[in-house]
Amino acid sequence: MLTLTDVTKTYGSRRALDAVSFDVAPGRMTGFVGGNGAGKTTAMRIILGVLSSDSGDVTLDGRALTPESRRRFGYMPEERGLYPKMKIEEQLVYLARLHGFTASAAQKKAERLLERLGLGERRGDLVESLSLGNQQRAQIAASLVHEPDVLVLDEPFSGLDPMAVDTVVGVLSDYAASGIPVLFSSHQLDIVERLCDDLVIIAGGQIRANGPRDELRERHSSRRYELHVAGDAGWVRDVPGVTVVDFHGGDAVFEVDSDDTAQAVLRDAVARGPVVSYTRQRPSLAQIFKEVVA
């Protein structure tokens, strides 16, 4: 478990992080979401120790992080960086060896990872000769090649086409499934929604919402239901406690004043004829985000 407790960072008079606390649980993908300048990158750099916080702690399984324990982290910085004039594979082997792997083990890991990320045929290419999307994959490989104990990835999906996103999602999921904490930030809320188990939403340096994704959606869902029946749904208007938002033939979207009202509507609908579907509308991540950030 990677834990941030009351981490604060100030640049001049601007407070970049204000008592930021959250957990990244092992075996789970934690999505870190926030607008531009919200403090995502600052928080990640503090976790990695490339930036120091003014106050607060970052611990892994209860122990304060040291340069030693941070060497077991996999990090993808916001500003991409690899040696432009080195071959991709050579570069990965170098990084793995810096982490202590023997030359042959490093070679094996680099080959396997490049294959997995769809860069197998490009292994001998110079980084500068790759397309941006492939450079991005190489960058992800660089953060994974030493088989880290914790993954911290700043915008790992930016610049990837949908197929590449799927590849990367697959690889990251495997890492999480192997039992390590994975923290990743992204602007692409649809990807985060699909991929993450837990969510941390930050705005203006403060954590606005934090917890398992489904729990958050539950918490932020309104009492809004969607009914789809074979016949006409106009009768819904007359049920006490119901406010219709949208109505069109057999489809109705409405808000209820209590759970009992919602059940009453369903019973009524079943009594009147076949019900195609009846669902409580759950807010999308984008909606939750706008709500908590506003």
Partner: protein, 376 residues
């Protein structure tokens, strides 16, 4: 709630490896520096050109300096005694003066030495159309000379040697110094430094860079020194070699320490900027330190006071001390003392350099101010 897309692919095999030691980390960094540099065509070509210059200089020196071909002369039995014991002559003995003159006319010999009682020496030199000056000097009798200050080197030779040390030091220190500064900035500019810093201690990164470039610089200097010594031996300039041998070896020793000192400074000042284009703004003072001894030795190669000071100031000692050794001005203990001063300064500089480096490495964006680089 569970992670999707789990294909069950292996993400790790076995335990995490032991963290490499400081030395292992530095060595890996150094190895990469060397490998990348040796892959650079520009570097290989410029090294080749430098080697050619050294070799060319020695060969030209050999041709001009000595080793002239033996002068062919013809003698008769009566004049043969005049050339006995003379070196550098290819003597052909013929029966008569007429035969000897015929050889001169045909160009088979440069001159004929014939008996002639009318001259005080008892011989006459017969040549075709030019007076063979070299031969005349050889045959003439000169009074013996005693030099009161016997150790003085030929001033022109001394000048050449001083310049040679100055140029080699300057060229090598600038080449590898700017390489190291560039390699530091490149890592900052491409942001690979954030990844590196999460993998290796900053000091190991700096140590590796200094080590790698020092190995390259030392390799180049050692090759030049070896080439010079071999070249002088092959061209038979053994006299010069015996004078130059020891100073050249001292030069290599001084160079190694002197370069480590400069490398630490180049790395530190390089780390203060964020773009390769800005390197000059912080490395200029270090560049000056490299250029000053070069110019001093050109202008003051014959000034014992300046050379004496230069041979003890750490930045110029690698040039000053070998020149003094060549001139025979230095006592046996002087290079040792100077070396100790240089070593102590180098250690201090490395400590200072790594502080600047650590403070500046992650300050991306602008140029780090000296005050910020040195404090904290």
């Amino acid at each position: 709630m569970t992670t999707t897309n789990t294909t069950g692919a292996v993400v790790r095999d076995g335990a995490a490896p032991a963290t490499p030691s400081f030395l292992q980390s530095s060595w890996l960094v150094a190895e990469r520096e060397v490998r990348m540099k040796l892959r650079s065509k520009a570097f290989l070509i410029s090294t080749g050109i430098l080697m050619l210059f050294v070799l060319g200089g020695i060969l030209i020196g050999g041709l001009v300096g000595g080793n002239e071909e033996a002068t062919k002369v013809a003698v008769t039995a009566d004049s043969a005694s005049a050339v006995t014991g003379q070196e550098g002559l290819d003597v052909t003995e013929v029966a008569t003066a007429k035969d000897a003159e015929a050889l001169v006319r045909s160009g088979d010999v440069t001159a004929a030495i014939l008996p002639d009682d009318s001259t005080p020496l008892g011989i006459v030199v017969v040549a075709d159309s030019e007076t063979p000056t070299g031969l005349l000097q050889q045959l003439s009798i000169t009074p013996p000379v005693t030099l009161l200050d016997g150790d003085t080197q030929n001033p022109f030779l001394a000048y050449l040697v001083a310049i040679a040390f100055g140029v080699v030091f300057f060229a090598s220190a600038m080449t590898f110094g700017s390489t190291i500064a560039q390699s530091v900035v490149e890592e900052k500019q491409t942001r690979v430094v954030e990844i590196l810093m999460s993998a290796v201690p900053v000091r190991a990164l700096l140590a590796g860079k200094v080590l790698g470039n020092s190995i390259l610089a030392f390799g180049q200097i050692a090759m030049i020194a070896a080439l010079a010594i071999i070249g002088l031996t092959i061209t038979g300039q053994s006299e010069l070699l015996s004078l130059l041998g020891a100073p050249v070896l001292w030069f290599v020793v001084f160079f190694v320490l002197g370069f480590v000192l400069l490398a630490a400074l180049f790395a530190a000042t390089g780390s203060m900027v964020s773009r390769v284009e800005d390197i000059g703004s912080t490395t200029t003072p270090v560049t000056m330190l490299v250029m000053i001894p070069y110019f001093l030795v050109i202008f003051f190669y014959d000034n014992p006071v300046v050379l004496g000071i230069m041979s003890y100031v750490p930045f110029s000692a690698p040039v000053g001390m070998p020149v003094r050794l060549f001139l025979g001005d230095a006592q046996w203990w002087e290079p040792l003392l100077s070396l100790v001063i240089l070593a102590v300064t180098a250690l201090g500089t490395i400590a200072l350099g790594s502080k600047i480096y650590e403070n500046s490495l992650l300050k991306l964006g602008g140029t780090v101010k000296w005050r910020d680089a040195l404090t904290r």
